[in-house]
């Protein structure tokens, strides 16, 4: 039966894992308040979506 001859070194193990990484979330800029927001979502800062106030917030 095929058996590994050598234990995988830390270096090789870690090199293999260089591609195991989490990509950051995509963000867009709120056209009203220029704060970052999730695309296709209401702006968490000013509570607007597509130029309309959806939720009342501190600034609105």
């Amino acid at each position: 039966m095929a058996v590994p001859k050598r234990r995988t070194s830390k270096s090789r193990r870690d090199k293999r894992r260089t591609h195991h990484k989490i990509a950051g979330i995509n963000l867009s800029i709120c056209p009203q308040c220029n704060e970052p927001k999730l695309p296709h979502h209401i702006c968490g800062n000013c509570g607007t979506y597509k130029g309309r106030v959806v939720l009342e917030s501190e600034e609105a």
């Binding site: 999730l38 979502h41 209401i42 509570g47 501190e58 609105a60």
Partner: protein, 171 residues
């Protein structure tokens, strides 16, 4: 094959789902807008559209059909009174869904579903909003610092009311 099996299951029995959507559609017409998960909001559109179609038809049979789904009589009568005027000119697109972000606790995507309102109703709402914002102004200043951090760290946290109250407790 899932041919001709439209709709979502939502990990519920069909009776549970039906009961839940009856509650939800009642709440939606009662409060104009409700907050729920994306999946439920999308399914709720179908129920809401059906109710409005019945209301636009407006005859006694339609009213009884609506009463068999909506749990509160007052809501049905109000809907049947308003619907022809409010939705008479449009066919479909009676509801609007706006994504709010993810819920703390289970990270479920939450959205707001509301009836597309005529201008009159919208103005009434805006007046209410103004009153609310006056009360909030006192709390504004303390929150401003925290807001900047929030913007960078918590992009998903879009519910404006709940995080602000949480911050008050922390500070």
């Amino acid at each position: 094959m899932r041919h001709r099996k439209a709709g979502v299951k939502l990990n519920r029995t069909s009776s549970h789902a039906k009961a839940m959507f009856r509650n939800m559609v009642t709440s939606l017409f009662k409060h104009e807008r409700i907050q729920t998960t994306d999946a439920k909001a999308k399914e709720l559109r179908i129920w809401a559209d059906h109710m409005i179609t019945l209301a636009k038809r407006g005859d006694l049979h339609a009213r009884r059909q609506a009463l068999s789904i909506i749990r509160e009589k007052d809501v049905v009568h109000k809907l049947f009174e308003e619907a022809p005027e409010r939705f008479g000119s449009v066919s479909g697109g009676y509801t609007r869904i706006i994504k709010l972000g993810r819920r703390q606790g289970d990270a479920a995507p939450v959205s707001l579903i509301e009836l597309t309102a005529s201008e009159k109703i919208r103005k009434k709402k805006e007046k209410k909003k103004e009153n609310k914002t006056d009360k909030k102004q006192a709390a504004e200043e303390t929150e401003e610092k925290a807001e900047k951090k929030e913007a960078v760290e918590d992009q998903t946290d879009t519910e404006t009311e709940t995080p602000s109250s949480a911050e008050d407790q922390q500070s």
